[in-house]
């Protein structure tokens, strides 16, 4: 069964239709790369799935939970919040919380969510200990154990982005979304982020990555979507899309990145 299903997703800002009917599905463990020129609607897709924008119409489900089917308004804030845990989003420019150190950036949301558990009072100690352990484990995974007590302003861009990936993983999302995770970084720092994403792919994490790193997209993804002006212009395996593109637009776009 697909862990992510998007059907005929439409979204307008004012009079401009930014998404004109986007459909795709993703199975567990798959890695989808979304490529396409600036303004084609890539970020808007991620924002709609992550409930940061309300679509105009269409259908979105994650892990069997319906995120959107046109009745979103009827849902209360708590229902939306509970679903939110099924997805994680890594922003282009990190958005770490500046006043918290690395460790607290990871644990803040998890600790707040834990308070809503029914067994929180009896099990408080264990629950908190689990959260702390989880944070330590994730920091180790992204290679930042020694930066645990640092504040975001003391980190390099690459380190910040690794923290934000770890933070997104804290709530164990079923699908992790990345919006151009390396675009705000100096070129020499992109490698460390791509390495982390690659290691997540190796662990069968289901991911959707909006990226301009074509060779990385080709190497890491099982599926590629080329967005053009609010529609999917081409879709397939990395080999299909990169080596044998069918549409002229895709060919033109990809040739721009060849050196």
């Amino acid at each position: 069964m697909s862990v992510l299903e998007v059907k005929d997703l439409k979204k307008s800002f004012g009079k401009t239709e930014v998404l004109k009917g986007v459909s795709f599905t993703l199975d567990e463990g798959e890695v989808l790369s979304i490529i396409g020129s600036s303004g084609s609607g890539k970020t808007t897709i991620l924002r709609c799935i992550n409930q940061l924008e309300i679509p105009n119409s269409g259908y979105i489900s994650v892990g069997g939970e319906i995120f959107f089917d046109g009745t979103a308004e009827k849902e209360n804030a708590k229902q939306r919040r509970m679903k939110q845990r099924l997805v994680g989003l890594v922003f282009q420019d990190f958005h770490l919380f500046p006043q918290y150190n690395v460790h607290d950036n990871l644990t803040l949301a998890a600790k707040l969510l834990a308070k809503e558990r029914e067994d929180y009072k009896e099990n408080k100690k264990n629950i908190i200990a689990d959260i702390e352990a989880k944070a330590d484990e994730l920091l180790k995974k992204v290679g930042l154990s020694e930066k645990k007590d640092s504040y975001p302003c003391q980190l390099s861009g690459g380190q910040k982005q690794r923290v934000s990936i770890a933070r997104a993983l804290m709530l164990e999302p079923k699908v992790l979304f990345f919006d151009e995770p390396t675009s705000a970084l100096d070129p020499e720092l992109t490698g460390e982020i791509l390495k982390v994403i690659k290691s997540l792919a190796d662990e069968n994490m289901t991911m959707v990555i909006v990226t301009h790193e074509m060779s990385f997209a080709k190497a890491v993804s099982t599926k590629v979507i080329f967005m053009d002006d609010g529609v999917i212009a081409e879709e397939g395996t990395p080999e299909d899309v990169f080596d044998n593109p069918k549409s002229e637009r895709t060919k033109a776009f990809i040739s721009k990145f060849e050196d």
Partner: protein, 233 residues
């Protein structure tokens, strides 16, 4: 002839009133300023424009004038209305307002005036927080309240400390305006010795009190700023 001790006792009495005006203004103007700032950011346009108009009027006219309007204005209007034969109970009530405590009129004027200045500082502080901070909190499953209190608030506080400390130090000196409606405060206390004893130095000495007070505030704000220095927004 007055003794130095007598002068200082009088100055100190005036100073206590100045500090009272200062403290009460802060106490009420900060929460009111927060409410006004939310009004000025409201998505409900009519409310927003009414609030913005009010802020414009208050910031665009001298505090001295506002003191006079608050203290004498309602009474004048009501007296005029009574003279023309109105028996409206509201008018009658307003007519009694001239005998409102002078000190109360000072506090009302100061609170309204400073709340408007503070509200603009708060608005600037809140609007300077990037949208991404709210969104990061939201995608991590936090409630709006949690995002405000756990993520945004401290960043706002850090942003507004410098302009607030400016404004609050201005308030120390603005307390001297209270004497316009005959509220005895520090400047008045000093000035009184010119008439009664032909002494100018007591008035000049009031500067020591103002300097000591604003010096203390500068020190406190410096401490707070240092305390929040451990991170950068």
């Amino acid at each position: 002839m007055v003794t130095v001790a007598e002068v200082f006792r009088a100055l100190f009495e005036g100073f206590v009133v100045s500090v009272e005006i200062f403290a009460l203004t802060l106490l009420f103007a900060i929460p009111l300023g927060l409410v006004i700032s939310f009004g000025s950011m409201s998505k409900f346009k009519p409310l927003k424009y009414v609030v913005k108009f009010f802020i414009w009027v208050i910031r665009g006219t001298p505090l001295m004038l506002q003191l006079i309007v608050i203290f004498y204005g309602p009474g004048l209007i009501a007296t005029w209305a009574v003279n023309t034969g109105s028996t409206n109970p509201l008018v009658m009530w307003l007519a009694t307002w001239t005998v409102m405590e002078r000190f109360t009129a000072v506090i009302i004027s100061f609170v309204i005036n400073y709340a408007c200045y503070f509200s603009e500082i708060f608005r600037g502080g809140i609007e300077s927080i990037p949208k991404g901070q709210y969104e990061a909190g939201q995608v991590l499953g936090m409630t709006k309240t949690q995002v405000f209190f756990k993520v945004v608030l401290l960043q706002v506080v850090k942003n507004i400390i410098p302009p607030m400390s400016n404004e609050i130090i201005t308030l120390v000196k603005d307390t001297s305006l209270a004497r316009v409606i005959s509220v005895y405060e520090l400047i008045w206390a000093g000035q009184a010795f010119i008439k009664s004893d032909g002494l100018l130095w007591p008035l000049m000495t009031t500067a020591i009190f103002y300097l000591a007070f604003s010096g203390l505030l500068t020190f406190v704000f410096g401490k707070i700023e240092k305390k929040l220095d451990y991170y950068k927004n």
